[in-house]
Symmetry: C2
Subunit: 139 residues, 2 copies
């Protein structure tokens, strides 16, 4: 599998994934994971997530911006590992870009809820595998 | 949800999971994830995995033993985050304990294949969530 093929398949996997796993690093250096809704990405450059500003991950990202995202299809034995740095965004444009109808379940005050914020992961590198084939790439 | 209820549900989630996600921390401090077969655990104390000794995760664990495991059921909105330290085991008892028929696909030389080894995660702490309920626990 060439790097170009891996990147193409990586984008296909992101497109069909409803969720992914986001990892941050806690204050003691342990990787902490949680499932996240797959909402928006700009190719393999940037991935955005919505989250509660009061969540533990925000406290972790404030101290350590290094993160990772993992998309996978366990039945098809496909996976995409991405690493990069995470920014916490609370500006109006970011809030509106990620807002979806129904988000009031998580953020009762709507798009301006002070507990709503956006995470922006700028991807530095990745690895895509399918069966026994895999390829590393830099972004 | 009490801590005891969370631990009970955590064990139920492990039991019914075919795979989970294992995170290690690379030499630059970024969390790296990959799906792993869910093979064996001793309650919420220890989880074991089989892997290729030549894999990148082994090089990462040699430098940084801090790891995490994540089990989740995206449809039921349930997840279990565990953190702890990982040991690389190559002894006969560990090899035999984790060996499954068919593993020759990954380790052609069988249970004594030099590229076969076992990872042992000793769990320190965890978090279980189900819907909007969650609980942290220490092990």
């Amino acid at each position: 599998m060439t790097i170009e093929q891996a990147k193409k398949k990586a984008l296909e996997l992101i497109k069909k994934s409803k969720t992914c796993v986001l990892a941050t690093v806690d204050k003691n250096g342990f990787p902490n994971m949680r499932a996240m809704m797959n909402l928006k990405n700009d190719g393999l450059q940037t991935i955005w997530f919505s989250t509660n500003f009061s969540s533990i991950k925000i406290a972790q990202i404030k101290k350590n911006k290094k993160g990772g995202v993992y998309f996978f299809d366990e039945k098809m034995f496909k996976g995409l590992r991405l690493i990069g740095e995470i920014k916490i965004k609370t500006d109006k444009a970011s809030r509106e870009k990620l807002w979806h109808p129904g988000f009031e379940i998580y953020y009762p005050k709507g798009v301006n809820d002070p507990d709503y914020c956006v995470l922006e992961l700028k991807i530095k590198a990745g690895n895509y595998y399918q069966g026994f084939e895999k390829a590393d790439f830099k972004i």
